[in-house]
């Protein structure tokens, strides 16, 4: 019998869900990423998708027996413990926190008993980890928000949150990759595009990468926006 720290749920004849018991952590994320990379090279697997503490494994036509696939998962997981982990790249995201781009900054700061400057300082001081992408195409689930910035979502979601809005909702912070409805507090905006269906892959970031926010003024925001259109500005990983 192989001992593994996850339960295997056969959700569908072609999809297995692996769920870990432990709470999400950087250590767990590294394991998920490492296991995902390893499984994607198996003939029995077409692709893997991720959650905070789960992996969905989509099986290929070569996976003829579920018990064999399960045995393979246990065997591969136990070889994973000794492999080296990759750590992802670091992206610095320019964010304008000025009032025109941050309609909820003042109310969020008041609710947290802080000044807007303190909120910006705390939000830009942290480095966030991309756990996975979901909700909307290009929406990064980030961990690492300072607990001092936790604030319950708005009671009434906005019907139209603009593309690029940087927001806080509950224990999370994130960037809206496209205009959409949303209930998070909008504290800034980035001119960068987090989802471009004309590019392959369509997002520059991926699970396991690191994100930090750099404050810019509205003049710099406009400049980057123009340079993105002319092709002069290209996002590249930091350091």
């Amino acid at each position: 019998m192989n001992l593994v720290p996850f339960r295997v749920i056969v959700l569908h004849p072609k999809a297995l869900l692996l769920e870990w018991e432990q709470e999400p952590s950087d250590q767990l994320l590294e394991k998920l990423l490492g296991f995902k990379r390893l499984l994607q090279n198996q003939d029995e697997v077409t692709r893997c998708t991720m959650g905070y503490k789960s992996l969905m494994i989509h099986l290929s036509e070569k996976a003829t027996s579920l018990s064999k696939v399960k045995a393979l998962l246990y065997k591969r997981y136990n070889t994973l413990e000794i492999t080296e982990f990759q750590s992802g790249v670091h992206w610095k995201i320019p964010v304008c926190y000025e009032e025109t781009h941050a309609p909820d900054l003042v109310t969020l700061a008041q609710a947290l008993n802080k000044s807007p400057e303190e909120v910006i300082q705390l939000h830009t001081a942290a480095t966030y980890r991309v756990c996975f992408i979901g909700f909307l195409p290009g929406f990064l689930y980030l961990s690492g928000l300072n607990p001092e910035l936790f604030l319950a979502r708005k009671e009434k979601p906005l019907l139209k949150v603009p593309k690029g809005a940087v927001a806080i909702g509950g224990k999370q912070t994130g960037i809206y990759p496209n205009e959409s409805p949303g209930g998070w507090h909008l504290i800034g905006k980035t001119p960068l595009s987090f989802f471009d269906p004309k590019k392959i892959p369509p997002c520059f970031a991926q699970a396991g990468d690191w994100i930090s926010f750099e404050p810019i003024n509205s003049k710099a925001y406009l400049k980057i926006q123009e340079e993105l259109i002319s092709g002069k500005f290209k996002i590249s990983p930091h350091g």
Binding site: I9, V10, L11, H12, P13, A15, L17, E19, P24, T46, R47, C48, T49, M50, G51, Y52, K53, S54, L55, M56, L66, F132, I133, G134, F135, L136, P137, G138, F139, Y141, P177, N178, F195, P197, K198, I200, P201, P202, C203, Q206, A207
Partner: protein, 284 residues
């Protein structure tokens, strides 16, 4: 080219779907009734991924700008080709200038118009399936001209099948237990599995909501990958079945997982239609 004279109630280009980019949050998409869609392509000797028009509830009126072959599958929309009734599942030659008019669906609610060579609209991230923010248009508008592919198909020599007589009203949908199903109490399981349930008016390509709710105190889960056909339960007990345009991750407890066949049957149901889940033994 095929000209859209009237677009119908909700018509979109669909194919098998967009498989490669779910890790970037891209929904699967693709024809809701995959079985009907695939059958259309088989009848025309098309590649299985050739794109078709998915017509919902009330179909479009289209004019063909070139000679080609078409077939209709899925729901019966009382189609007329130049005022002559056209039956589903029969590949038919159309001439330049012919007009096809689809009416209101009466058995099922989604009809596929497959065309020899497939529709050749823009392909984005490996698929022509329309989806907001990925393709330029999220559905078909009137007055557009849709390019089509080439094919040597001849309806005289093509595959023939007996028109499959689907009873789309049959309420039974087969399901597997979802990851949180075992946390339900017996009476909650009974509510889900022994009662006739029904579709609310909130049903679209992303998700179908049921009218019935179940009272529960299930814990929220950490956001995890979901599939089309996953039945989720919100904190207020609303039951939501994810369809092919659904988000790739979800944070609500997952009670059931529909089989592919059940998902395709569900795609042919509309507001107020009855459904009844039948639990299959687990696949272990």
């Amino acid at each position: 080219m095929v000209e859209i004279i009237q677009q119908g109630l909700y018509t979109s280009i669909q194919d098998l779907g967009r498989f490669e980019y779910q890790e970037y949050g891209v929904p699967l998409s693709g024809a809701l009734d995959q079985q009907a869609f695939r059958m259309g392509n088989q009848l025309l000797n098309n590649p299985l991924k050739a794109a078709a028009l998915e017509c919902s509830f009330k179909g479009p009126k289209v004019r063909f700008h070139q000679e080609t072959c078409i077939v209709l599958t899925g729901a019966d929309m009382q189609a007329r080709l130049n005022n002559t009734p056209l039956k589903n599942y029969i590949p038919t030659k159309v001439m330049e200038g012919d007009v096809l008019n689809l009416g209101t669906a009466f058995n099922g609610c989604r009809t596929y118009l497959n065309i020899a060579g497939g529709f050749k609209t823009e392909k984005v991230l490996g698929s022509r399936s329309q989806y907001m923010g990925i393709t330029k248009e999220e559905r078909i508008n009137k007055k557009v001209l849709l390019p089509i592919g080439t094919s040597t198909f001849d309806p005289e020599k093509g595959a023939h099948i007996h028109s499959p007589n689907f009873d789309y009203k049959k309420p039974t949908l087969e399901v597997f237990a979802g990851p949180e199903f075992h946390l339900l109490k017996k009476d909650q399981k009974d509510q889900l599995l022994k009662k006739i349930l029904s579709l609310s008016e909130l049903n679209n390509r992303m998700a179908f909501r049921l009218k019935e709710k179940i009272q529960h105190k299930l814990p929220q889960i950490w956001t995890a990958p979901v599939l089309p056909g996953t039945l989720q339960c919100t904190p207020d007990g609303t039951l939501i079945i994810l369809m092919r345009d659904a988000q790739v991750t979800g944070g609500y407890p997952r009670l059931l997982q529909l089989t592919d066949d059940a998902l395709e049957r569900l795609a042919q149901k509309k507001t107020n239609d009855e459904i009844r889940f039948k639990l299959l033994p687990s696949l272990e």
